[in-house]
């Protein structure tokens, strides 16, 4: 199931959390939720994918009671719509260090740059899917490999500089 953000009792944005796990975090059908692609914050009970979960829970836990909430229950407008009908602010996308990765493939002649590019490519995709932690991890991997490539490049550069220097002295 997709990743959702939700507003907790203090109207503070939480998440992202996998849709199937939302109930464990205290999300009820009236909790406002949002995921990538949704126009605005919506009560969880009105999101078809989530409403299905609530309906199942209801049948399991309270078979004797009538449905407390349906998908079409009017929602009291507790929240200032002007504040919450914007998509939530995710942290800005993590840097993918693509410039360094490309530089490494051209200059350093080492496969580190290729690994770095592969991670760099994953950063944006994960971020757009709302998987911020995974995107951050990919970003760090891209950084590590780019640094490894750069260190190799510098070390090789220094070695050749001294070889050149030695040859220069020997000719004198």
């Amino acid at each position: 199931m997709e990743q959702y953000f939700y507003l907790d009792v203090n109207k503070v944005q939480q998440g992202p959390v996998d849709g199937s796990q939302l109930v464990k975090f205290g999300v009820t059908p009236t909790t406002l939720v949002w995921k990538q692609g949704m126009a605005q914050w919506t009560p969880a009970g009105q999101v078809p994918e989530l409403a299905a979960i609530f309906n199942v829970l209801e049948e399991v836990q309270q078979p004797q009671q009538g449905p407390q909430f349906g998908p079409q229950v009017a929602q009291p407008n507790f929240y200032n719509q002007q504040t919450y009908n914007q998509p939530p602010q995710m942290p800005p996308p993590p840097d993918n260090y693509l410039v360094w990765a490309i530089l490494a493939t051209i200059c350093c002649c080492l496969p580190f740059g290729v690994v770095s590019i592969v991670y760099a490519a994953r950063v944006n995709g994960l971020y757009q899917m709302g998987q911020y932690q995974e995107a951050l991890a990919a970003s760090n991997s891209a950084k590590t490999w780019a640094i490894a490539a750069a260190i190799c490049g510098v070390v090789i550069g220094i070695i050749y500089f001294f070889i050149g220097l030695m040859q220069g002295f020997m000719r004198m």
Binding site: L98, I102, T105, A121, N124, I156, Y160, F161, I163, G164
Partner: protein, 125 residues
Amino acid sequence: MIRNKRWLIAAVIVAIGLLLFIFDPVQTQWSPKCVVKAVTGYDCPGCGFQRAAHAVLHGRFMDAVHYNLFLLVALPYLFLLVLSDWLLRGKAQAQLKRFTHHRYWIWTYLVLFFTWWILRNLLGL
């Protein structure tokens, strides 16, 4: 601070360009050589980069292409990336970044990189 960083980047690019303009890698001992080539004897995808840069800076474009054909792909892409990641700010940056960081471009670059690596060693390009 951001402004200083941009100047630093520009200065480093100019400095490397100047070094590659003055020294001909073919005749200079201390220009870094490729480790992959030294160990395996095969050209790596980046081999010829310094010679090509030297040739371009002296206006010999056909020589540059001869040294490393792949630079025709890599350098424009690198230029756009440096522009979008380091030099531009605000809306222009966001627009260019959406283009340069698109996964299709990144994967295309990787495929071309490996294709070029194999072809140059098979065909002696």
